[in-house]
Symmetry: C2
Subunit: 474 residues, 2 copies
């Protein structure tokens, strides 16, 4: 039998896609990477995933696991050798169960994030992970990249929201690690090793996730600011005044919001001309477990302090759920507006908060010196020290002009991040996009440890080769 | 040169201890394990730790890392071959720095936990890890065992409080991973792999820890209850009512508190005779970032609901910091009272909260059937699903009677934990004590993955051999 026939025997003929049927799986969301495959395989159960892996391990066929195909670093796109299979987890999309007294739920890797959020909400709970792609990204992809998003400040990244995993190893064995325990010190932390490993050590097929009580009230405000320093001063006030009720602190450059309003005219910036011209904005969110009145009083007290201290120049407090959604919608539309305006160069970086303002000022300056006219598209999760420090082509540049400068821009920004003690991938992962940069910035001892682990768990090198780490020589 | 001479050259003669000088390092705190060594080596810097590891790696000398020697599973005690060295981290005890705008501090592995707590407090911050041994346990030991304690419900275990590590590998290289970043997705999560690995993969020499705003007010109450079910009902109310302000929920069997009061007559149970006879108590703590008045009002509202619902039979609310400390002191004295009463058999288990009440009832019953007269010493962190489900000898038993039954008691309790989807080590780790039990209860695929990682990172098997996993055959 050919490899294709063996795969068809494992998952059924309908679920081995080739040619045109395979095409949607072979290009990433940003249309930066495109590849070829032997086939796209869509197993329908954990046992079928294990069967596919065993077939591939025996035949030496590389496997590229894929969830919702919304990744930003090409981690789920095959190379152009045509030797690999894409293993899509989309058919593993059952919510297996909920344990409300334990505040946990068990879900399969192919569940769409929004479906999981909604199931939690229907049960009177909160599953806090929230990010722009939530309508199509999957839990498996969220786990593979340790996804972040807008609620990390309070609830942590996907890692912090996960208690147990079910994993198919590179040998095609199944590790049954779906524990609903908040404490478990029996040996090495394999869970966190698989989370964030981008499919290079095995395939996550299901997870036990933490649930939280749904907040009783939420308050949201959009703040107008004149500097990053001011944003940090407000963040400090909010941390102290709100404690764990501070659930969102998003920083946005004024240029980003102007671009949103230009691209999507049904949206508007709720400030008059003076405040609408300020260079920075922050979206502030408090979640309260007490009452609407208490939330509001507390929110206004701290915001009052911030205005009095001079850090906040202007503020709009959402008066209704609809207004709050409109403010969040502005923030969430930034990546879409960015895409509308053509290709951009994205840097998903983190910096200690104490060095953030200097980083932004110095890096902006250095970029303008080196590439006059380049445009800054800066937004992100200031509360976590995470910025999407993106750049777009200058007004009179072609897309090709930007792409020609791409490697130099990457190097300048990443050098600057590295000098500030930061990370060149805060929440998007490494994939193909940052694989070579990793070698430049990572401690060589750490890289050697990573390679040892890769070799130990995937000695044949069939799990998503060439992602995160360079493929071992054949 | 002999191995000893080489070690003396690496750290100075004064810091290589043998004979009587070595003795205090060779027996664990519970006096369950005792071993022999070539020497105890006390390096004074990370470079010296690396030098010691290189000497040992070359000579094939096993290394047993040790912090405050307060572990409960024999993880830091050498075997009796006399071939190993104990590598004490106690001289690496500097707080290297604080970054208050980033809410982080950098500390060496030998810092005593309480020193770190106090340094944070002096800077107006909170380092939340808190446990009975805090006056003598070290940060390195806390990391090696992923320590838990009384604040996990709100702040997580040591893992959740750590951002970066400095590690000396089994080859004697130094991994410089002291990052102060809340988000960093550049490759495999080595940090969490080293945390909880009990010195079997390398030696943690320093860490970057998270700081939190110090709460403005705290409220504490001792609740009298008639069942575990009632305790869980109150926990559910408190979670919903307090949200993230719920910082403590400790369950204690009445017998534990009676034993405390008997052993330490200066302490007292603050209830009259009826409530003092109830079988269960819970210590409830709320931490507020708003005000004393707000904390108190909120605390009393939720407590009022709990009393009205019938779940709480009686309650004492601390009226002052001193009274609050007295209540916590009752809780913290349980292990000391337990030790006063002679050896006991300890089980540090976690269970999904939803199965906790049934677990306690069924396991108590099965133990009494099998070992009539055996005494239950049950307390722990109910909010985390973690119980110290200990047992002590019956009134008319000798210590030998208890120890003779030890293996059967372990097996009965751990079988029951396993059947309830729980873990046989929630926060103490594995060490020597639970190494063989691990093989009995752990998924064989998971064990095989652990062995692969051990072999990949410590191919010579010199790092704390025989702890967590059986030593590989020579």
């Amino acid at each position: 039998m050919s490899h294709l026939d063996t795969l068809r025997a494992a998952v059924g003929e309908l679920h081995v896609l080739t040619d045109a049927d395979a095409a949607p799986y072979l290009t990433d969301w940003r249309e930066r990477y495109s590849g070829k495959v032997l086939a796209v395989v869509r197993p329908g159960s954990t046992d079928e995933v294990a069967a596919v892996v065993r077939v591939c391990a025996t035949a030496g066929v590389p496997i590229v696991p894929q969830g919702g195909n919304t990744g930003l670093c090409g981690g789920a796109t095959p190379d152009d050798s045509g030797r690999a299979v894409v293993l899509s987890l989309q058919r593993l999309n059952r919510i297996r169960g909920m344990d409300l007294d334990n505040d946990t739920m068990e879900v399969e890797a192919g569940c769409v994030l929004q479906t999981v959020q909604e199931a939690a909400r229907d049960a009177g709970r909160l599953f806090p992970l929230s990010l722009a792609a939530e309508g199509s990204c999957t839990i498996g992809g969220n786990l593979a990249t340790n996804a972040g998003g807008t609620q990390v400040l309070r609830y942590g990244t996907m890692r912090a929201l996960t208690l147990g995993l079910e994993v198919v190893t590179a040998q095609g064995d199944i590790w049954h690690g779906l524990r609903g325990l908040r404490k478990d010190n029996t040996g090495y932390d394999l869970r966190d090793l698989y989370i964030g490993s981008e499919g290079t050590l095995g395939i996550i097929t299901a997870a036990t996730l933490k649930l939280y009580p749904a907040p009783i009230a939420r308050c949201t405000a959009l703040l107008a600011l004149s500097s990053v320093e001011e944003a940090i001063a407000v963040l400090t006030l909010a941390r102290r005044g709100f404690g764990a009720s501070l659930t969102g602190f998003e920083l946005m450059a004024g240029d980003c919001l102007k671009e949103v309003v230009r691209c999507f005219p049904q949206q508007r910036l709720p400030f008059d001309s003076a405040s609408a011209a300020l260079p920075w904005y922050a979206l502030l969110e408090l979640s309260d477990s007490e009452s609407e009145a208490h939330a509001r009083e507390r929110f206004e007290t701290v915001l009052g302090e911030a205005i009095e201290s001079g850090s906040v120049k202007d503020a709009v407090i959402a008066g209704s759920m609809a207004q709050s959604q409109a403010l969040w919608h502005l923030r969430e539309s930034i990546p879409l507006a960015e895409k509308e305006s053509g290709k951009s160069i994205k840097h998903d970086v983190s910096i200690p908060v104490s060095r953030m303002a200097t980083f932004v000022r110095d890096t902006n300056h250095a970029l303008q010196q080196a590439f006059p006219g380049i445009r800054h598209v800066i937004f992100g999760h200031l509360g976590d020290g995470n910025l999407h420090y993106n750049v777009a082509r200058g007004r009179d540049w072609s897309e090709a002009d930007l792409l020609a400068r791409q490697d130099d821009v990457f190097a300048l920004v990443h050098d600057s991040v590295h000098a500030a003690g930061g990370s060149i991938s805060a929440e998007h992962g490494v994939g193909q996009l940052k694989r070579d940069a990793l070698v430049r910035y990572k401690d060589p001892v750490e890289l050697a440890l990573m390679r040892s682990i890769k070799h130990a768990l995937d000695p044949r090198g069939i799990m998503n080769p060439g992602k995160v780490l360079a493929a071992a020589p054949a």
